[in-house]
C-alpha cells in the first residue's frame, strides 16, 4: 500500500538544510565555545538519517552517492597526517600551531591546525555512525 507522506518530506527538506548549517556552525565554533568535530559529525549524520527516513534508502543512495565506509579511513588518515606533519618542523608528534590571517569578508581570523585534526574526527564520526545505522537497517530476516 503506497502511502502519501508529503508533510514529512516537505519538513525534512527544510530541517535537513537547517541541520547541515548548524553542524557546520558547531564544527567551526568548537575552538572557543561548545561544539567541535564530534557533535558536528553527529548532527550531520542526524540530517542524513532524516533524509533516509523520509525518502527511503534507494532515493538517498542516488542523491548522496557516498560510501560511508570510505569516510572512516579518510578521517583516520587526516588525523594521522596532522599529527605526523609536525615532524616536518622538528617538533614532537601532534604539536599544533596557530596563526592570524586576513580574509576579504571575515577580516582577521585565527586559524589553528587543530581544526584539521577536528576534521578527521568529523569524518570518522559521520562514517561510523552512518555505517552502523545503514548496516542495521539493511539486515535480512533469516
Amino acid at each position: 500500500m503506497q502511502q502519501n507522506n508529503l508533510i514529512l518530506r516537505t519538513t525534512t527538506t527544510l530541517i535537513a538544510f537547517l541541520l547541515l548549517g548548524f553542524a557546520i556552525y558547531l564544527f567551526f565554533a568548537g575552538h572557543n565555545s561548545p561544539g567541535g568535530g564530534f557533535v558536528g559529525g553527529l548532527m550531520t549524520s542526524g540530517a542524513v538519517l532524516l533524509l533516509y527516513m523520509a525518502y527511503g534508502i534507494e532515493s538517498v543512495d542516488k542523491m548522496l552517492p557516498i560510501n560511508f565506509r570510505i569516510l572512516i579511513p579518510i578521517g583516520l588518515a587526516t588525523a594521522l597526517a596532522t599529527g605526523a606533519g609536525s615532524f616536518l618542523f622538528n617538533v614532537p608528534f601532534l604539536t599544533h600551531t596557530f596563526g592570524y590571517f586576513y580574509f576579504p569578508i571575515f577580516g582577521e581570523v585565527e586559524l589553528a591546525t587543530a581544526m584539521l585534526f577536528d576534521l578527521g574526527v568529523y569524518f570518522t564520526v559521520v562514517g561510523s555512525v552512518m555505517t552502523t545505522i545503514l548496516t542495521i537497517a539493511n539486515d535480512q530476516k533469516v
Binding site: L19, P34, G35, M53, G56
Partner: protein, 95 residues
C-alpha cells in the same frame, strides 16, 4: 524576585514531566507513550533554558537546539516504526 519566579517555573515544569511520566508508565497504547516522550523532551528544553538563565551563562544554547532536533528525529523514527514497521526500510509487519 526573578530568582523565585524562575525556581517556581522550574518546579512546575518538573510537575509536568512527572505527569507525562504517568502517561508513559500507564499509557494504554504505544502512540500515547511516544507523545508523552516528545512532551518530556520539550519540557526538558524549557528547563535547560531556565537553568541557563539562573546560572547566567550562554553555554547551554547549543544544547537547546540539539535536544529539539533529537526529539524531532526520535519522534519521526518511532512514528515510522508504528506506521510502517521499519524505520528506514519499510517492511511488512508479522501480525
Amino acid at each position: 524576585m526573578v530568582e523565585t519566579m524562575l525556581q517556581v517555573s522550574l518546579t512546575l515544569f518538573g510537575v509536568a514531566i512527572v505527569i507525562a511520566l504517568y502517561r508513559i508508565v500507564f499509557g494504554p497504547s504505544l502512540p500515547d507513550r511516544v507523545i508523552a516522550l516528545d512532551m518530556i523532551g520539550v519540557n526538558l528544553i524549557t528547563a535547560i533554558a531556565i537553568v541557563s538563565v539562573i546560572l547566567n551563562t550562554k553555554a547551554f544554547l547549543e544544547v537547546i537546539l540539539i535536544l529539539g532536533v533529537l526529539a524531532f528525529i526520535s519522534t519521526i523514527a518511532f512514528s515510522k516504526f508504528i506506521e510502517k514497521g521499519g524505520v528506514i526500510i519499510e517492511r511488512k509487519r508479522d501480525d
